[in-house]
């Protein structure tokens, strides 16, 4: 842990030296401040309330390479399966943290779909206006990301525009000889009455441990619509820490789906800050993991303003020695009357070794609100399984069918058909069955 901290500290000095003229920009001032936060706080430990159930230590012990070079070229046909292959999309592809124009399809036509780095040189004032304005400044993992922020996706949908096809953001890691740490930084701005659909994934092509410490800031302006899907199905040597903060203005509608099937370790920090009235927020998640995997969802919906509604549904299936964490915070501040806030976290444990720590946390300081939460932990319904078996469906397929039925409403806000299909397939695969129908 300390070793990685030392390494990041020395890396930051190198990073600053390499910036040359850019070291005095406002953006870099933000970086420096963030780095200070990290230096003071260090990595979180299990003593921190927010990390009580999740031990970060094992994933910090590796000697990660901090700076990447683009050494490996990827052939599209080898990675095609990680894309929504049967449809046309905009693509922002990064290989070992570096933008691959070869694999990407960008645009500056009616909207900007490009990279954080290019935007910093082309229109620094735009980046400055939003950079680090949404992320929690005291959180040390987000702070390291901010300190090293240089590359990632930049998407700005201008007023009234609807992006005509989904945007895929994919970060590949390819190093075959060394553990790597990458820190993508994404900035998404959906202007007034604009709309976009985004799919994000991180994919290691290496057998070495990869630590991705990703941070995304999203600004959903007045009456905008954003659909954001995170596909977390990386290989079992990869770890992901994802911090995503969303600021929603009046009448905006934001839907975020997090689908976690892979990785050795995943920590999602998803914070929604409501800054205007009549917003709508949907947070959905499906987690299906097995032996040796951990997925931790921390969410916050911050109702500061009246007349907003949020709806959260997280489903989890844990097999083998899998460990799940769900901590869903909903804050309803004194002035936030007429808030509608619903939260549900349902879990199935398939073995005695699997575990889930679930903690709904509703703090309500307004009196004229409708809020509810529920969490369940259960096992597979034996009677339902018998019902399926009595119709000729074998135990294994029947189990999968029931688990699918349990989880599938987590897909309710997935509007991209191709993605739905893909997720269905991944779920079936994860459940170890080949079901004949479109689930």
């Amino acid at each position: 842990m300390d070793q990685l901290k030392d390494k990041l500290e020395s890396s930051f000095i190198i990073f600053e030296n390499e910036l040359n003229g850019q070291a005095k920009t406002p953006i870099h001032k933000v970086r420096q401040k963030a780095f200070k936060t990290f230096e003071e706080k260090g990595f979180p430990t299990k003593r921190d309330e927010e990390w009580k159930y999740t031990n970060l230590k094992p994933i910090l012990k590796h000697d990660y390479r901090i700076f990447q070079r683009s050494e490996n070229v990827i052939d599209f046909k080898d990675v095609k399966k990680f894309f929504l292959s049967d449809m046309d999309t905009y693509k922002l592809v990064f290989v070992d943290g570096i933008f691959s124009s070869w694999l990407s399809e960008t645009t500056h036509d009616r909207f900007d779909i490009c990279t954080f780095n290019s935007m910093m040189s082309k229109a620094p004032e735009v980046v400055e206006e939003y950079f680090n304005k949404a992320l929690p400044s005291e959180e040390s993992l987000a702070a390291i990301n901010t300190a090293f922020a240089r590359e990632g996706a930049f998407i700005r949908v201008k007023k009234g525009q609807t992006v005509d096809k989904p945007v895929e953001i994919i970060f590949f890691t390819t190093r075959q000889d060394k553990e790597v740490m990458i820190q993508p930084r994404n900035l998404i701005i959906v202007e007034e009455n604009a709309e976009v659909q985004i799919v994000e994934r991180h994919q290691s092509l290496s057998e070495f441990p990869v630590l991705t410490n990703s941070a995304t800031e999203i600004f959903a302006q007045k009456s905008s619509r954003l659909f954001y899907y995170k596909v977390q199905n990386d290989n079992l040597d990869a770890s992901l820490i994802d911090t995503t903060s969303v600021v929603q203005q009046e009448r905006s509608n934001v839907s975020i789906g997090t689908f976690s099937f892979g990785n050795k370790f995943v920590r999602n920090n998803l914070d929604i800050f409501l800054k205007g009235e009549h917003t709508e927020t949907h947070l959905d998640g499906i987690t299906i993991i097995g032996d040796g995997q951990l997925v931790d969802h921390h969410t916050l919906v911050d109702h500061k303003i009246p007349n907003c509604s949020s709806n959260e549904l997280y489903k989890g299936i844990y097999d083998g020695s899998a460990h799940g964490v769900f901590n869903g915070k909903v804050m309803v501040h004194p002035h936030a009357q007429k808030t509608n806030a619903f939260q549900e976290n349902n879990n199935i444990l398939l073995t005695d070794k699997a575990s889930i720590d679930t903690k709904p946390q509703l703090e309500i300081y307004a009196d004229d609100v409708q809020c509810s939460h529920g969490c369940t932990i259960g096992q597979l319904d034996e009677e339902a399984l018998f019902y399926l078996q009595s119709r000729g469906i074998p135990e294994k397929e029947g189990t999968a069918l029931l688990l699918y039925a349990f989880a599938n409403d987590g897909l309710r806000n997935v509007k991209i058909q191709e993605l739905r299909k893909k997720l269905n397939k991944q779920i079936a695969q994860k459940l170890g069955v080949n079901l004949d129908f479109e689930l």
């Binding site: 339902a384 018998f386 009595s390 119709r391 000729g392 069918l401 039925a405 129908f437």
Partner: protein
């Protein structure tokens, strides 16, 4: 077709069935009647292979083969079907997808290829019209939000699709109004032939007006205390079970 010999079974150490003997031949309809708690549903669940019951004694053969150690799905593949008293709701899985999976898993077990989609669809349509069902049914989630009557109708629809050799209908009549009962019974009658058999588990004579049994058994305290023809059911309707209980206790 089905031959049960001296079957003793229970759950959590409590014996529910205390020596059942039953033989059902192809082409026959048997009714099993009896008061609440007599073991009717236990018997039907054990025939279908529900694993939580412990069988302590006895033998159960289906078409000459001991089926006691077979999993529920293996029994289904051999042609045993149980219509549930309380069908399970499975949100998120449509009736179509459920049936497709059930039929094709059964075909797979029998070494057949999956049923072609158009054939499947046609069969579904035919069987639905037999049971006077709306075709919107197919795209609904299995039993999810169905009324009691719709659930029962759906059970018989599944039976019609799976074409079992032995169908056990556990209280299919409960929760059905008279019109629905007529439709369901009519469906069952149309599906009968000389090669299949039906076991009706019921409290009441009502269903037997529509599906006429060859043999009526009365189950009491885990034993078949009386068997007879359809007139036995009429007598039960008229006199209740008490006279039989008395008779049984004097045995």
């Amino acid at each position: 077709m089905l031959k049960i010999n001296n079957l003793h079974a229970g759950i959590d150490g409590t014996e529910i069935l205390k020596g059942i003997n039953l033989e059902v031949k192809a082409g026959e309809v048997h009714a099993i009647m009896g008061p609440n708690g007599s073991g009717k549903s236990t018997l039907s669940a054990i025939i279908a292979g529900r694993e939580e019951y412990e069988v302590s004694q006895g033998r159960m053969d289906f078409e000459g083969e001991d089926i006691m150690d077979l999993a529920p799905e293996e029994r289904a593949h051999k042609g045993i079907f149980l219509s549930f008293q309380y069908p399970i709701e499975i949100p998120g899985v449509t009736v179509t997808n459920f049936l497709k999976t059930a039929i094709n898993e059964t075909r797979k077990a029998q070494g057949m290829d999956p049923m072609p989609a158009n054939e499947m669809l046609k069969k579904m349509r035919d069987k639905m019209s037999l049971l006077e069902m709306d075709k919107g049914f197919l795209s609904r989630s299995l039993n999810d939000g169905f009324s009691g009557g719709e659930k029962k109708r759906n059970e018989i629809f599944q039976m019609a699709m799976l074409e079992p050799k032995l169908a056990i209908l556990d209280e299919t009549d409960s929760g059905l109004d008279i019109d629905a009962l007529r439709v369901v019974a009519n469906g069952v009658n149309k599906l009968r032939n000389k090669d299949n058999a039906v076991i009706l588990i019921t409290h009441y004579q009502r269903l037997l007006d529509y599906i006429v049994p060859d043999v009526v058994h009365v189950l009491h305290k885990g034993k078949i205390v009386k068997s007879g023809d359809k007139n036995l059911a009429l007598k039960l309707e008229e006199k209740g079970y008490d006279w039989l209980k008395e008779e049984a206790s004097t045995l």
